[in-house]
Symmetry: C2
């Protein structure tokens, strides 16, 4: 910051903190900090309190490794959820998206990443050993592998399918195809070929 | 939030706080909150502390109404700045942009808004009376009106020019024209006609 003169230190500190967040550049950080300054102090105080509380209150569920205030988490401790059907996701955001769809009634297993040797992420960096133990201990019937259709996501899915081929558990994947509401003419070729390969027969 | 089950309350609270910031929707807020949770607790604590400090440490400069930890602010108390040349801006962000250019050596006057009767912003809502008092008391020589070239910005500039026409102070405006690095073919017609009207003769 070369324009320090125009900026009080308390504002510079906040702008620097905000700039460290993903997708927030120094311009956006400045805009946010000025907005917070213009709003009542009570709003900044509420945000400060919630930030300070976050790490103290949230931990990983010992069963599925999702972020939770309780252990086990509300999903793992819900008797209406099918504990023998487990959806494997890369991160909490994927799990939240699936929960939002309200079409999955099993439990989750959060890997906290995807295989990417270039970035130093191997099987040991993910919660894969814990998944294998869980499959054996809890008699998991089906594993829905819901990693992303990116290179690391596909690599993780392949690794899991090979590793678990003889684990006595059914393995499934999310269907791949044209997203709802998208024109076929706008779909990329990879998506289209997946949609054709995975076409569903009319009964 | 209908997907509460998947989200601990401490995370929901933070996401709601973040969603109140301008330009941050619930998806971005969720992404930011999860990022903060994955990073060390010390980073969240630093952000929380800086937020809590902000309003306590920053006030308005009594002379120019910019945000500052001192009164008068470092610019108003700097003897190297020309106190008889004052740049009128809508907000602190405009002032920061001009400071960054390092081509203005006078002082500022922050209006904290622009005239917009539809939004209930009239002359009384801006720091205009204080500007008039300042012109008289400090023998201001020139007022550079640097409001934005938006409808409210132009309305504010017109109002000030009429109001101050006989105040014994020279009035100037920022030059309007093609931004640096922009192709002429990409400039909009309004900007082009301003750039032609304001053309600079070769000496």
């Amino acid at each position: 910051m070369t324009h320090i003169k125009a900026l009080p230190q308390a504002l510079v500190s906040l702008i620097e903190d905000l700039s460290r967040l993903p997708g927030i550049g120094s311009k956006t950080a400045t805009r946010l900090a000025l907005h917070i300054l213009r709003r009542p102090a009570s709003e900044a105080a509420a945000l400060a309190r919630d930030l300070a509380d976050l790490h103290a209150r949230i931990h990983l569920c010992g069963n599925c490794f999702s972020f939770s205030e309780e252990n086990p988490c509300p999903i793992c401790s819900d008797p209406r959820r099918d504990a023998t059907l487990v959806c494997v996701v890369e991160g909490p955001a994927d799990m939240m998206a699936i929960e939002k769809s309200a079409s999955f009634k099993g439990q989750y297993h959060v890997l906290h990443g995807a295989l990417s040797p270039m970035d130093g992420v191997g099987p040991r960096e993910l919660r894969i050993e814990a998944l294998i133990t869980r499959i054996q201990r809890h008699k998991i019937r089906e594993l829905l592998i819901a990693t992303s259709s990116t290179v690391p996501g596909e690599a993780t899915a392949s690794y899991l399918m090979e590793k678990l081929a003889r684990a006595g558990v059914k393995l499934s994947r999310l269907a791949c195809g044209i997203p709802m509401g998208m024109d076929v003419r706008h779909a990329d070729t990879m998506t289209l070929s997946r949609a054709i390969d995975g076409r569903v027969m009319n009964r």
